[in-house]
């Protein structure tokens, strides 16, 4: 007779801790599952060195420990704590990878920025990577390149360290894609500019310490009469009119801001007066490639989670995944993701060698927006009713990724740029 008194547990304590019980009713943001269809190999990568991979590992740890456990809560609250998160990232050296060493950056090339962006795609929402991208690659590049030493010390250094939150003030209620028709004016009066007008779609707007503001500083031709100004957000006359209630990217606070006779010192102009539009345009390639990078990682995760879900979900006595239409469609989507990844890496490789990759970057951005929508839509369908709940990543991705075709350069703007390079626009 078996007189053993002890029931044998088939799992060690450590398996419980490290392998976990991966059930699908778990919290959206607590999953640590790594997509097994995207193995990280350090050998033979086109643009990444072991240092890039080491950097990605560190970022992944920060995301797993400090960010993902709280995403569901921040999405519900409509805001993530930017100062806290940016300070953690700043301490790890992540906010200034390609910024000058003199101001706390690491002076590395853009391939490191792409690596950072790719890894941020592991965050289980789109809002937080977007907010970080504004801080690192939208509000600060022009300042880093053209700002005076005094200006860089006051605004760039603390932004790279994670002590100050930045936002970008370019789009307005009446001007999005048509940047040249913005109405915000900065009128010179002695040693100051007096600013009147307003900005829209300001990511980080309710938490920012300063804004990189694009305003009309003279009455010249619309591409040469604008300047970039470093604007402290606590100046009298700066009003955060409202936080916009958005369909997606809900953990990122987006503000509508008004300026009512705001006075800012004239030394706060970045570089030369009248060059603001040009400066902002110079960084479009980086902005767009950055956006593509984190979308790719999230798309990998959505595909993998869809595979996991449909493998265990049964319909007509077999897993949903076993139906050919499902696994074939996922294969099609994964193929497109890899194609886009190749385009991103190719454009990045050319860019860091000093080439102009405007055409390729615009193509990548265009494709990222459209593929994300297709992928979100197809995958959500395979989740069935569960896909329609707010408890799963796929529905959040469906909502968040819709913005990609609109913000940071709408699809139509991308198409116009590509046509310009193809010389097919009517003259």
């Amino acid at each position: 007779m078996n007189s053993s008194k002890y029931i044998v547990f088939s799992l060690t304590v450590h398996e419980c801790l490290f392998r976990g019980f991966r059930t699908l009713s778990q919290n959206v943001s607590s999953s640590k599952h790594t997509p097994s269809n995207a193995p990280e190999t350090t050998v033979d990568h086109l643009i990444y060195t072991p240092e890039h991979f080491a950097l990605k590992e560190s970022i992944k740890k920060i995301i797993d420990q400090e960010i993902n456990p709280h995403v569901d809560q921040w999405e519900a609250e409509g805001k993530f704590p930017a100062h806290r998160i940016f300070k953690i990232l700043g301490n790890a050296g992540i906010l200034g990878v390609n910024k000058p060493v003199e101001y706390g950056g690491l002076g590395l090339d853009f391939s490191y920025s792409v690596a950072v962006s790719e890894e941020l795609g592991n965050i289980r929402c789109g809002g937080i990577p977007m907010a970080i991208g504004v801080q690192t690659d939208m509000a600060t590049p022009a300042l880093a390149r053209f700002g005076s030493h005094e200006l860089k010390t006051e605004f760039l250094l603390p932004s790279i360290l994670g002590d100050k939150v930045a936002c970008l003030g370019v789009s307005e209620v009446g001007a999005g894609s048509d940047v040249s028709s913005i109405m915000t004016k900065a009128v010179r009066q002695g040693d100051e500019y007096v600013i009147n007008g307003g900005k829209m779609w300001t990511t980080n707007g309710t938490q920012a310490d300063w804004m990189c503001l694009l305003a009309n500083t003279s009455d010249g031709p619309p591409h040469r009469n604008k300047s970039l100004i470093c604007l402290p957000m606590d100046l009298p006359g700066v009003h955060i009119a409202r936080q916009i209630d958005k369909m997606g990217m809900r953990s990122s606070d987006t503000a509508e801001v008004f300026f009512d006779d705001v006075r800012v010192p004239s030394k706060n102009v970045i570089g030369k007066e009248g060059m603001g539009f040009t400066y902002q345009m110079l960084q479009f390639q980086e902005e767009r490639l950055w956006a593509v990078a984190n979308t790719l990682t999230t798309m990998d995760i959505v595909i993998q989670e869809t595979i996991d879900y449909t493998r265990q979900r049964k319909i007509f006595k077999m897993p949903v995944l076993h139906h050919q239409t499902v696994h074939f469609r996922l294969a099609e989507l994964q193929t497109e993701v890899e194609l886009l990844r190749s385009l991103l890496h190719r454009a990045t490789a050319l860019f860091i060698k000093g080439n102009d990759v405007t055409k390729l970057a615009s193509m990548a951005k265009l494709k990222a927006g459209r593929l994300a929508r297709e992928l979100g839509d197809s995958c959500l369908q395979y989740w069935g009713g569960m896909g329609f709940t707010n408890d799963v990543l796929v529905s959040r991705f469906y909502r968040d990724s819709r913005l990609i075709s609109i913000g940071g350069g709408a699809d139509e703007v991308m198409l116009g740029i590509i046509c310009k390079y193809m010389d097919t626009l009517p003259k």
Binding site: N2, I7, R19, P39, P50, E57, A92
Partner: protein
């Protein structure tokens, strides 16, 4: 005392990866699979780096045995704050049969060569789950051991170790040089910051062959077969304690 601490780090399949058994059942699939530093080794590195930051020791040396790829793991330790690394070169073929006994012999030889004051290892690796290397290394060196450490206090000539044991916590005082193995709650490992990752590029990793240390790699163990664990089956609900006891008897468990 030399003020030098040797830390062993092992490159293992990342804990979050779903393990798959090879079709020929000779092992698990490692090709193209994400690898990282064994989590308990990370804790060991962190403890050593903290000792150095507190100026209790002077140098942290990270050691790993294996083929070329283990250099990545040594670099991670360097990025966390280790001063230099030692890569004990083992061919891919030999690595397949490399086990705790051979690694212990290597570590013991290195500890003597480097005049180490302490060896800190993870308590076990998450692939083999052997939990043997620390103990064997101490035995080979005839050094005291403080295993399953959840708290370590280094003092002149000895070290106080709080150990996690089945009944609770045990505090021991052992003389140095000694071998410690890190348990989960010893510390929370730091992540390597990008500036430290870039600085680590300049730190040195020395290459050593097991033969140079007088160690034979031949193993007396042979893996016969590797299988997946049986599929987790559905549970059964019972209405009362008597029911539970009855069912357990039926299943031959009591």
């Amino acid at each position: 005392m030399s003020g030098r601490v040797l830390v062993g780090v092992k490159r293992v399949i990342d804990y979050a990866v779903k393990i798959r058994v090879k079709p020929d059942h000779s092992g698990v699939v490692t090709e193209g699979v994400k690898h990282s530093m064994n989590p308990f080794c990370e804790i060991a590195v962190e403890e050593a780096v903290k000792m150095k930051e507190k100026k209790l020791i002077k140098e942290v040396v990270a050691v790993s045995c294996g083929p070329q790829q283990v250099q990545e793991t040594i670099r991670t330790a360097l990025a966390m704050g280790a001063d230099r690394g030692i890569h004990v070169e083992v061919s891919a073929k030999e690595y397949e049969s490399l086990g705790p006994l051979q690694v212990s012999k290597i570590l013991a030889a290195l500890a003597k060569k480097e005049e180490a004051q302490l060896i800190i290892l993870g308590k076990q690796a998450i692939d083999g789950d052997c939990n043997q290397t620390g103990q064997m290394t101490a035995a080979l060196l005839d050094w005291p051991q403080g295993t399953f450490a959840s708290e370590v206090t280094l003092e002149a000539g000895h070290v106080k170790v709080v150990r996690e044991i089945d009944g609770g916590l045990e505090t021991i005082k052992i003389n140095t040089p000694a071998v410690l193995t890190a348990d989960l709650r010893l510390n929370t490992p730091r992540y390597a910051t990008l500036p430290n990752i870039m600085k680590a590029k300049k730190k040195k990793i020395a290459n050593v062959k097991p033969a140079d240390l007088g160690v034979e790699l031949a193993s007396k163990l042979q893996v016969l077969r590797v299988d997946e664990p049986p599929q987790r089956e559905a549970g059964v609900k019972v209405e009362s304690v008597d029911d539970l006891v009855g069912k357990l008897k039926e299943a031959g468990r009591i």
